[in-house]
């Protein structure tokens, strides 16, 4: 696209005093340009009167594919009110937000959430070119909201250093991780709310084609693992995942207590970019990892990430599973936990290998531990269903 586009900066104030001169200047710059696509970069534009708007309108006649980029909020409003936004591509400039000294309140697969003031948080994306991710997350968050899942929806896209961020309103909210870390006596209450929300997500039917299928993702993990497991176990893992039936119910995909917020009396989900559809076993595998799996070898990990210790993490996992299955039958709980661990270990081993885990001593030891557990579990079960 860049090769066939001509970019022209707009500067300062454009009014009837100088609109003719500005127009002539633009036309002279475009004299030797044969294309039809131009971009007016408005980052240095301070003011535009209607005389200036008319210059843009005339340019549009010559260059139908015209974009005005980096438009300040004030000028965007003028474009919007006059109908320019309906006629051409007008892109807002991103507000710049600093997260220096801001509290980290959440962390997901694709980004980290910081509180920027009393009422607002920003999710800073890991991927520097995250505009597509932001659009995706916004769409799935809207979908979740329409389907009845309480969630915050971003209202603005901002720049944070070299990254993009999306801003959400989150008033007086505290994450469940913080509650568990500071008020241990609220454990049972947290478990109940956490599981209620989980059940709500898992009972939500998603219209076809709106969200990715987690089974397909898991088939990818199992296929990857074939190179790292003995043949028999590798094949069995893939067979087990393949045998999980298609399911159109919603999965969160990264459902841990840092992604669940208590805002006044309402429980809200904040990290929606991993939403998918599929069988709940895939969710349970990821939940096991969050509270037990990742820190099984290195106990400090959970304390650093969630703010509570491994004992709290394991207790929360066990209580949540019992509440989710609505049983205290130990055999049943063990069975479902084991099946969750099969998914969990598969995911962690793959993740660690892809992050060069095999190149460090600690990584190798960790992978060995998870692998031995996985091989043992694969010998015990012939289905992942529960």
């Amino acid at each position: 696209m860049a090769e066939n586009t001509f970019t022209i900066p707009l500067q300062g104030r454009i009014s009837s005093d100088n609109s003719a001169a500005v127009e002539q200047e633009i036309m002279s710059k475009l004299e030797n340009y044969d294309g039809k696509s131009i971009v007016l970069d408005a980052s240095a534009l301070e003011y535009i009167s209607s005389a200036g708007l008319r210059v843009i309108l005339r340019l549009k006649k010559e260059y139908p594919d015209i974009t005005v980029s980096n438009v300040s909020p004030e000028i965007y409003e003028i474009f919007d009110m006059t109908g320019f936004t309906e006629m051409m591509n007008v892109e807002k400039a991103y507000r710049v937000v600093s997260i220096e000294g801001c509290e980290e309140i959440g962390k997901g697969a694709n980004g980290t959430i910081y509180r920027i003031d009393k009422d607002n948080v920003v999710k800073v994306y890991n991927n520097a070119d995250a505009l597509e991710d932001i659009k995706h997350e916004r769409e799935v968050a809207k979908l979740a909201l329409i389907l009845g899942i309480p969630t915050a929806i971003s209202y603005d896209v901002v720049k944070v250093g070299d990254s993009y961020g999306s801003v959400f309103e989150l008033l007086n909210a505290r994450s469940f991780s913080k509650i568990l870390a500071t008020e241990p006596d609220k454990m049972d209450w947290c478990v109940k709310e956490y599981v209620d929300m989980l059940k709500k997500i898992h009972s939500t039917l998603v219209p076809e084609g709106k969200l990715p299928d987690q089974k397909q993702t898991a088939v990818g993990w199992a296929t990857f693992m074939k190179d790292y497991l003995p043949d028999a176990e590798g094949n069995k893992l893939l067979d087990l995942v393949n045998a999980v039936p298609h399911d159109d119910h919603m999965l969160h995909g990264d459902y841990h207590t840092k992604n669940l917020e208590l805002q006044n009396d309402e429980v809200l989900l904040i990290d929606m970019d991993t939403l998918a559809i599929g069988h709940p076993i895939f969710e349970l595998g990821s939940i096991f990892n969050s509270f037990v799996g990742y820190s099984e070898y290195d106990k400090n990990l959970i304390l650093n990430f969630q703010g509570f210790d491994d004992v709290t993490g394991r207790t929360f996992w066990e209580k949540s599973l019992a509440a989710y299955l609505d049983t205290d039958d130990e055999d049943r709980l063990r069975e479902v936990a084991d099946k969750a661990r099969i998914i969990g270990y598969t995911r962690m081993i793959r993740r660690s290998i892809r992050r060069k885990g095999l190149e460090s001593e600690k990584g190798r030891a960790e992978i060995e531990l998870w692998k031995s557990e996985l091989i043992e579990l694969l010998g015990k079960y012939d289905t992942l269903l529960f």
């Binding site: 009014s15 009837s16 005093d17 100088n18 003719a20 001169a21 127009e23 036309m27 009167s49 209607s50 005389a51 708007l53 008319r54 309108l57 005339r58 003028i78 009110m81 006059t82 109908g83 320019f84 309906e86 006629m87």
Partner: protein, 286 residues
């Protein structure tokens, strides 16, 4: 029924700030396939008299026009006058009033930049300036650049000329409207959301402004205009229908001074013309 399919009721000649002589405009309008046109020089009717004197049988239909710059406590307006009697005393009085103010302001500006900044010009240049039909800030700015007092016209405006503001030396909208009406013409508000060309007036503010001018006798609004988006056009068409006003269409052609083509006013096919426009045409050609 008339055969008018394409019209342009807003254009400027050398009598104000366009680059075509009035006679040339006739040919250009005909070449552009325009069936009906009006010349609307700023605060002047001289060009219309010239055109009336040299029209021939197969020329497009012509109606007299003018565009008056007006100002009152509520803001600035450009008011178009159409189909007036070019020999009418009232319209002539408005032109004279505007011209008088214009000369006062030009003289005051020349005095101001001489006394404040020490900018002097030769007598020939000053005489030539004052002999123009509509001398104003752009002409002084050109001289300042020529003399090296300013690098660019914009600098001349920003740093010097705009430092002097006038409060009262403007034709008031009611004066222009009355003058047009009394000479048998139709007063129409030009490019309404753009005010005097540099503003943006929308929503309730637009409607209040229009109601105020209707009290003075405005009869129509320019709804089709080269510089309008579809949204602005629709906004004006709604207001015209609501208050039963004439609808007009104009390009604001200025010859080589602006990149606007004659006849460019976003007017749709005749079958889609609003009632206010067909009524305007019927009333001026009857």
């Amino acid at each position: 029924m008339n055969n008018i399919k394409k019209l342009d009721l807003h254009m400027h000649s050398v009598v104000s700030d366009g680059t075509d002589a009035p006679e040339e405009i006739i040919t250009k309008a005909r070449d552009a396939g325009i069936d009906m046109f009006a010349l609307t020089d700023h605060d002047a009717i001289k060009g219309c008299k010239t055109i009336l004197g040299c029209l021939s049988g197969d020329d497009p239909l012509f109606i007299t026009g003018s565009e008056f710059s007006c100002k009152d406590d509520h803001g600035k307006y450009h008011i178009l006058g159409y189909n007036y009697d070019p020999d009418g005393k009232s319209i002539g009085d408005v032109v004279d009033l505007g011209h008088g103010y214009r000369m006062e302001k030009v003289t005051a500006r020349l005095d101001f930049i001489r006394d404040t900044f020490g900018f002097d010009f030769s007598k020939e240049d000053i005489d030539a300036l004052l002999a123009l039909n509509n001398p104003g800030k752009p002409h002084i700015a050109n001289l300042m650049v020529k003399y090296g007092y300013a690098e660019t016209k914009e600098e001349a405006f920003d740093k010097y000329l705009n430092k002097l503001r006038f409060k009262d030396q403007y034709v008031r909208p009611e004066e222009a409207i009355r003058g047009i009406l009394n000479s048998g013409g139709i007063p129409v508000l030009a490019h309404p959301p753009y005010g005097d060309g540099d503003q943006l007036i929308l929503g309730d503010e637009m409607e209040e402004r229009l109601k105020r001018l209707m009290d003075f006798g405005i009869k129509g609004v320019e709804c089709f205009y080269s510089g309008f988006t579809p949204k602005l056009c629709q906004m004006m068409l709604r207001l015209a229908a609501k208050y039963d006003l004439y609808v007009t269409a104009g390009s604001d052609y200025h010859g080589k001074n602006k990149l606007i083509a004659l006849g460019d006013n976003n007017l749709p096919e005749k079958s889609e013309w609003p009632e206010g426009l067909t009524r305007f045409i019927d009333d001026v050609i009857s």
